[in-house]
């Protein structure tokens, strides 16, 4: 008993978030200082190489397929994937795989339908593509709003998550942690633009994939490299025993299952920080390569998180070192992977994984901030409030927007500290799936899409996604304390995406305005560009 108490006391800084730093935390602090130092140097390099808007928004279009694939993976795999999915596997087993499959399934779709055409038709933001052959201002407003809504929601989740994580791992007070993350992301994006953001994401991807791989090898080494031993012991130790091998209570009913599925698979193709990564490559062929690599990295990563979750069941669940007085994990359920890193690799590896978790957050929030700043500077300032403002001025607007977004993110992160924000990422995906994806897909492939149809249908998708979540069980009942929800399902996507497509279709086919005929004619003209892109085009002119 006394020995256990001594052990728990010596980990107090990490697990109690109070007290002075001791030897345990030094590794983590050293590693994250190193990471921050390297990224700030990179930002300095990026700043000197960011000479114009092309550099700022898309790194001059010079990122190759493999590097971009790593950056995409780094942009997409958030702390929620790493910690959240392994925590879900830890507590419920198979249910974690449902999310993992959902997060992966959107990527083949992006490759088949989106990546190449997006690169051929657009320059800096996906609104370039949605507005390509439609009327600029209304479409830009819609797409920019869809982007900003998705970005802000996602940012809230990231800031609150990062604040709590850093509070537990490094002993910093919550507000300081949020301010630190916000400040760093302002610096990366405001000064280093896409070049800095890309490198932060690449470094994070390498660290995360490397760290998770080492963790899995260590877990398997503990179990004589036998997967069967892993599953046998997990089933034996976990309180739910064999039921963890099958679906648990995550999905209550078929409609929720379908709705969540729709949000994940189509939402991925509507996330602005992901879509913007396709403009950083030289041409469609490299865009296609980047998705191939990204999908491979992401798929591999989810296999790892699954094994990490089970590894945590075997090596962490039973060990009093990681449990508090009530028998639950110290620091909360999301700490399963963190505790596992200590169980297999001691203090040094724990420090490394803590730094990796921190890097993971920075990479994602940087991507989000740049996407939001691009929507504000390029779409809203450049096209909506002005008539195609010079790019140099757009860049300035975006830099200012990056600072503003950073400050807003810090404020929101502090405001939402105690709130239940788990539904927020789901809502972000739902908006991406209902407002961004339908308009993007149809503008690239359907001749009949008109400005009016896109604006009305897309807005209805956006509004219905938000409204259905507000009157659904999570917000209406749990947060606003009404007795019954007005909309009974937790996930709105099935309905909001359907609403979007139906109304886009309806208001497009009934559109007899002059703008509508312009829209349809412009589609024909855009198809060559969509298939070929600007780089492959004037071969004859190049040789002159």
């Amino acid at each position: 008993m006394k020995q256990i108490a001594l052990c728990i006391l010596s980990f107090q800084t990490l697990y109690g978030a109070q007290g002075a730093p001791n030897g345990l935390n030094i590794t983590a602090i050293v590693m994250f200082t190193l990471f921050v130092g390297v990224t700030l140097l990179i930002t300095k390099y990026a700043a000197t190489h960011t000479k114009n808007a092309n550099d700022f928004y898309v790194a001059g279009g010079s990122i190759g397929g493999f590097k971009n694939g790593l950056a995409i993976a780094g942009d997409y795999m958030s702390a929620a994937s790493f910690l959240g999915i392994s925590a879900l596997v830890y507590s419920a087993g198979f249910d974690g795989l449902i999310y993992a499959i959902g997060f992966l399934a959107g990527w083949p779709l992006i490759l088949f339908l989106i990546a190449e055409r997006l690169r051929n038709l657009g320059r800096y933001t996906f609104a370039d593509v949605t507005a390509y052959r439609l009327s600029q201002k209304p479409i830009r407003i819609l797409s920019a709003f869809g982007s900003i809504a998705t970005v802000l929601l996602y940012l809230i989740a990231q800031m609150v998550g990062s604040g709590k994580l850093i509070e537990v791992l490094f002993g910093l007070p919550y507000e300081a942690a949020v301010i630190l993350v916000g400040t760093l992301m302002i610096i990366y994006v405001g000064f280093g633009g896409m070049i800095a953001t890309t490198w932060v994401q690449i470094i994070k991807a390498v660290l995360l994939l490397g760290g998770a791989t080492i963790m899995v090898i260590a877990v398997l080494w503990h179990l004589d490299f036998s997967l069967t031993t892993l599953f046998d012991q997990a089933v034996a130790i976990h309180p739910k025993h064999e039921t963890i091998l099958g679906p648990g209570g995550l999905i209550d009913d078929p409609v929720s299952a379908l709705s969540l599925g729709v949000a994940l698979v189509f939402g991925t193709a509507g996330l602005p920080h992901i879509l913007m990564r396709f403009f950083t490559v030289p041409d469609a062929k490299e865009a296609r390569k980047s998705v191939l690599y990204a999908t491979g990295f992401i798929g591999y990563f989810y296999l790892l998180t699954f094994i990490i979750g089970f590894g945590a069941i075997v090596l962490v669940m039973d060990s009093p070192l990681y449990l508090d007085a009530k028998g639950s994990l110290i620091g909360g359920e999301n700490m399963a992977a963190i505790h596992l890193s200590h169980a297999v690799g001691g203090d040094m590896f724990l420090g490394f994984i803590c730094a990796v978790a921190f890097a993971t957050i920075l990479a994602v929030v940087s991507g989000l901030t740049l996407a939001g700043a691009s929507a504000i500077g390029h779409d809203l300032y450049g096209y909506v409030f002005n008539n195609q403002k010079e790019e140099a001025k757009q860049m300035v607007a975006s830099k200012i927007a990056a600072i503003a977004l950073g400050i807003i993110a810090i404020v929101l992160g502090i405001m939402f500290e105690k709130q239940n924000i788990a539904f927020v990422v789901g809502l972000a995906f739902a908006i991406a799936a209902s407002a961004n994806f339908p308009v993007l897909l149809l503008s690239m492939y359907w001749r009949g899409l008109t400005t009016r149809g896109a604006v009305i249908g897309g807005s209805m998708g956006l509004v219905s996604a938000i409204a259905l979540v507000v009157v659904g069980p999570i917000v209406w009942v749990e947060i606003l304390h009404h007795p019954q929800p007005l909309f009974e399902y937790k996930y709105p996507a099935l309905f909001s995406v359907s609403i979007a497509f139906i109304f886009i279709w309806l208001f497009s086919i009934t559109d007899r305005s002059a703008q509508a005929s312009k829209d349809r004619k412009a589609f024909d003209a855009s198809q060559l560009q969509a298939l070929v892109g600007e780089h492959s085009m004037p071969l004859k002119e190049k040789s002159q």
Partner: protein
């Protein structure tokens, strides 16, 4: 812009591949979700009594590999066949300009 039939055929072929691969992905994915929602007990069954690996886990692993394979397949087809479409279109566009 009028495109000659052989180019239109190539484009139609590309669209056909895109649609088929998309449908394959969606069927695999929503099929998986459908099974989870309606037949969770099937997924919970072990593949053999001796090992603690369920059909669900096995299928999920296979599905992850399948998604990656489909992306590789598309890239292969694109590199070998679709890029000829792009070239043909460019040549046609240049001829039209001349």
């Amino acid at each position: 812009m009028h495109l000659p039939p052989h180019i239109l055929q190539l484009i139609a072929y590309k669209h056909k591949i895109q649609i088929r691969l998309t449908l394959a992905t969606l069927i695999l994915y929503f099929g998986f979700i459908f099974m989870v929602a309606y037949y969770p007990d099937l997924f919970a069954q072990k593949i053999t009594p001796k090992y603690n690996i369920s059909w669900g886990i096995a299928i999920a692993f296979v599905l992850i590999v399948a998604f990656c394979t489909l992306t590789a397949l598309y890239v292969y087809l694109a590199n070998t066949r679709f890029d000829t479409i792009t070239k043909a279109l460019c040549e046609h566009a240049n001829k039209e300009k001349a």
